[in-house]
């Protein structure tokens, strides 16, 4: 899912998505890392319980909200850090 040639990346980091380790690179957003790992369903809509994921990719639409340390953040604007623990289970509710 990532472009492999002619791209300078940050150092490799590991983030944890509901406890599962996912590889990423420093400088990427959480949403980028999750998309590259094939994780597109980031939350459920609060009432209809329908799947939601990254849409605007610029911090406006709130569709990609996940929880980091219990805090709701837009995955598209939040950078990854090594050891970051992300929860999709209750994201956006």
């Amino acid at each position: 899912m990532r472009i492999e040639n002619a791209v300078a990346r940050g150092r490799p980091v590991t983030i944890h998505v509901d406890g599962t380790p996912v590889g990423a690179f420093a400088g990427e957003s959480i949403a980028t890392a999750l998309l590259a790992a094939g994780i597109r369903r980031l939350r459920e809509s609060p009432r209809a319980r329908e799947p939601r994921g990254m849409f605007c990719a610029m911090g406006a639409c709130q569709e990609c909200v996940v929880r980091v340390d219990g805090r709701a953040v837009t995955a598209c604007t939040e950078p990854v850090r090594d050891g970051l623990s992300i929860s999709l289970v209750d994201a956006g509710r």
Partner: protein
């Protein structure tokens, strides 16, 4: 220029309801509003329609006002999202419980339709509440809310349908009286009317000055905040024994958080502003009552002006010393009572006996008292 039977200055709920009832009563009415109908307190308040937070002296008016809200969609032709969801007032300390017990005993006797309930019962009705923090509560299945942001829309449509003239974006700059009529200069145009109704809400003081009357009208700057859409957490309107909290969850899942925490601003200078520290205090209390709210972010907060006089009772009736001029305002809990207060004043102006007593507006008339 043909004269209107009445010009109503101020298109909040008080002025709009008065004008609508005058129009329904056969009068030619003009509503003159500096911004848009319902753009002040009538459109930015938290929408609570609860009898248990009303003062005993105003209970009969609040009961009738709430009845009118229940039929607003039918009467005005616009859905105002009126929902009967029940209402609960919470006491978190023994002192709050004592205050709640005393106050509710009077209000229940006055017809608030509430009962005292235990913390356990409160937790059964609304499981998302922090039951272990509640000492005592009162509950009424009759309490309701409506969406205040559609107040202006609803009244505009009804006023136009009733044949009233609605002039928005027209701040009043002068009121002249000659030959048995008022000439009102507003937004650069003139309106002539035989009767004058001053319904300016937090801007009432300035309107009264234009007819030579000085009154000690003060205002509060009440803050409201709203969360992002959240899973269904609770149904009832949640309130606090000392009045510092209102919580309600709309159909769309957003939670409206109010309680009269103070922002800052001056009605003459512009809109009210939110005080960040008071917003945080309001949110802390909200989260204390309902811990699950900690997971929701605030999307927006705002502030609105609520006018009052020193005894916190309404000003509704004819103005002494200015023939054919009336005032309506300073009704705390005015959102609930507005539709009825407007009806009462219209009954008087139409020459009928008002169903309930009005509120002498001249008791604080400083200029006249000094004269």
């Amino acid at each position: 220029m043909t004269a209107f039977d009445a010009a109503v200055l101020g298109g909040g709920i008080m002025g709009s309801a008065t004008a609508l009832n005058l129009a329904w009563g056969g009068m030619r009415v003009a509503v003159i509003e500096k911004r848009a109908l319902g753009s002040g307190a009538s459109g930015v308040n938290a929408g609570t329609l609860s009898l248990q937070i009303k003062r005993v002296a105003l209970m009969p008016y609040a009961i009738r006002g709430k009845e009118l809200w229940a039929t607003t969609a039918k009467r005005l032709g616009v859905d105002v999202h009126y929902r009967v969801v029940g209402g609960m007032t919470l006491a978190f300390t023994e002192a709050e419980a004592e205050a709640l017990r005393t106050r509710m005993a009077e209000r229940i006797a006055a017809g608030a339709g509430a009962e005292m309930i235990t913390a356990a019962r409160a937790g059964e009705i609304e499981p998302a509440l922090a039951g272990e923090r509640i000492v005592l509560a009162s509950y009424s299945p009759l309490d309701a809310y409506a969406n205040s942001s559609v107040t202006g829309l609803a009244y505009r449509r009804a006023l136009v349908a009733a044949g009233a003239e609605v002039r928005e974006g027209a701040p009043v700059t002068a009121i002249d009286r000659a030959e048995g009529a008022f000439t009102i200069t507003a937004g650069g145009e003139r309106v002539v009317a035989r009767r004058l109704v001053l319904a300016g809400g937090a801007w009432l003081k300035g309107l009264l000055r234009m007819v030579g009357i000085e009154m000690p009208i003060h205002y509060r700057v009440n803050q409201v905040a709203v969360t992002e859409r959240t899973r269904p957490l609770f149904k009832a309107v949640i309130m606090h024994a000392l009045g510092f909290l209102t919580l309600k969850q709309s159909d769309n899942g957003t939670v409206l958080i109010g309680g009269g925490w103070q922002g800052f601003g001056d009605p003459e200078a512009g809109g009210g502003e939110v005080d960040a520290e008071n917003l945080v205090g309001n949110l802390r209390l909200a989260r204390y009552a309902m811990p699950a709210l900690a997971g929701s972010r605030i999307v927006r907060s705002w502030a609105g002006y609520e006018a009052h006089v020193p005894d916190f009772m309404p000003l509704i009736g004819p103005l002494a010393g200015v023939d054919d001029a009336y005032v309506i305002g300073c009704v705390r809990g005015g959102y609930t009572q507005g539709p009825y207060m407007g009806q009462l004043l219209a009954e008087l102006i139409l020459g009928r006996e008002p169903e309930m007593p009005l509120f002498n507006p001249n008791r604080f008339n400083e200029a006249r008292a000094a004269a």
